[in-house]
Symmetry: C2
């Protein structure tokens, strides 16, 4: 199945306790597409960049099966840019700079060839832009997943609530789930969020793993305990890419299969943080991914002997 990815394609400056990386390739759509490309070679991106973006990086995406027809290139303009610095604990970060550039008046346009996509991943963006993509779909897709963040809850809650009605899967972190629902208990938060629209909810807890809520069932996936977290940038998007890439490739929305998708997403995120930027995501092979899946099995598997 074809996976449509909407999100930023951007540059990042990243500073962690382990070093600095300047003007490296980033953006939600980049991480999502790279991660998903290990599961499906039929990925379509809707995004916008300036003419400052290296052709080699675009070509790299194309060779991984990523269709860039929906990637608008604005002549004479600059790509979205974010600069951030991580604290020593790697769980918190300060945004040092945000330059919207081409993103300021981004109007997504869905090419005709993208209409066949049945799996849609709306990466973190203004809710009205996410909605604009859904409005252009001529037939209902099988699955729409949406990632968002507290910033949109603070500044565009009404638009966010509107788009939530149209989607199937919401991915947010635990604090965002609490903010959106007004409930501290994640079980109660999930109940309220289901009522807002999404049948499925994935709560990302970073180093504490992820929870999948669906049809009165709960699944918990741990994060892999790592000796080194080098750069957490893009880990959430990488999770979403592995999760949706696996779902699109298997075209199976049973709870059993969604659990596997959460584990594949977690496995991809565990690779992402091992090097700066998208570096680690570009050098994986199937054996490495399988080996990591086995580590997840070992990590949580026990014989209850009941």
């Amino acid at each position: 199945m074809s996976l449509l990815v909407v999100g930023t394609v951007a540059f990042d400056d990243i500073e962690t306790p382990f070093g600095r990386a300047e003007k490296v390739v980033g953006g939600a759509a980049t991480y999502i597409a790279l991660s998903a490309s290990y599961y499906t070679k039929d990925i379509k991106i809707v995004s916008v960049i300036g003419d400052d973006f290296p052709e080699a990086d675009l070509q790299d995406l194309r060779t991984r099966g990523v269709d860039l027809e929906g990637l608008q290139v604005k002549r004479g303009e600059k790509s979205f840019f974010w600069a951030g610095k991580y604290h020593a604990n790697m769980n918190e970060r300060d945004t040092l700079d945000t330059q919207l550039n081409v993103l300021a008046d981004f109007d997504p346009v869905l090419p005709a060839s993208y209409q066949e996509s049945d799996y849609i991943m709306l990466g973190n963006l203004t809710p009205s832009v996410q909605m604009r993509v859904l409005e252009q779909l001529q037939r209902p897709p099988k699955v729409v997943a949406l990632d968002t963040m507290n910033f949109w809850m603070d500044t565009a809650l009404d638009e966010l609530m509107e788009v939530l009605k149209k989607i199937d899967i919401l991915t947010i972190n635990d604090e965002e789930a609490r903010q959106l629902s007004g409930e501290h208990s994640l079980v109660k938060a999930a109940e309220k969020i289901h009522e807002m629209g999404p049948r499925y909810l994935v709560i990302k807890k970073g180093e504490h793993g992820a929870l999948l809520f669906a049809e009165n069932q709960i699944f918990f996936a741990p994060a892999l305990p790592l000796a080194e977290v080098f750069d957490p940038t893009g880990a959430g998007d990488t999770f979403a890419g592995g999760f949706m890439g696996y779902l699109a490739s298997t075209d199976d929305l049973s709870f059993e299969n969604m659990k596997r998708a959460v584990i594949y997403g977690s496995a991809m995120a565990s690779f992402c943080v091992e090097k700066f930027s998208t570096e680690r995501l570009k050098e994986l092979d199937d054996d490495q991914i399988t080996e990591r899946m086995l580590r997840f099995v070992q990590l949580v598997n026990f014989d209850a002997k009941i």
Copy 2:
């Protein structure tokens, strides 16, 4: 196998967003023994109380198979007392009052009949008191587990490091593991803590579950996602009680069995927080515990299909 439990038997005043409980029975040894009593009926307590402690509560422990010969009763003195108030998120609490009372000059005395204990759980106490118990053992036990906290790392680090050399299993929370080791990564923290003495390390992460590190293997147990957390007091001790009670009853230190012990400990902790004080821990039966074990299996079980 007999389980020897060392720790406080005390009174608590507890305030949570859900209500108040005054002068209810608490203390690490109480929670540990109650929790362990669902696995073994051969439990021996070493502790100290004043003459203000209700005989009915002591009798209740005895009927659950808890030997109180090593419980000193100080005439004319008062039992240890703690008062605390939980924040709205239930993860943080303020200590409002601590009255050491009988604990101020506690000198633990091991009755002769306790010498047969092969499993020993040293609840959170001054490291020198934990050491005094180990010094009275006439033959090496099979397993010594120790619980401690940041307060002793701040005020009695040398004594703590001495007793760590003598134990097999350390149970602490994630922030304490980081403080003790000076490492942010829990994987690296575990390596350093193994070098301090304990072969096994259990890192308790509250609502985020628990990690077991042993012999280059890692096991992760989630916390059960709960709609209501009524009172977290004693959850860590209840975990330790279920963990050590199960180990003592099975007398099997294989990694597979220790994983089950971590899940049983997590299951007991998930009951503990459902009501004030030790209330929920007094009314369980085997069917409820088995049903909860099955919920843990469902929560993490997935078919990797590799």
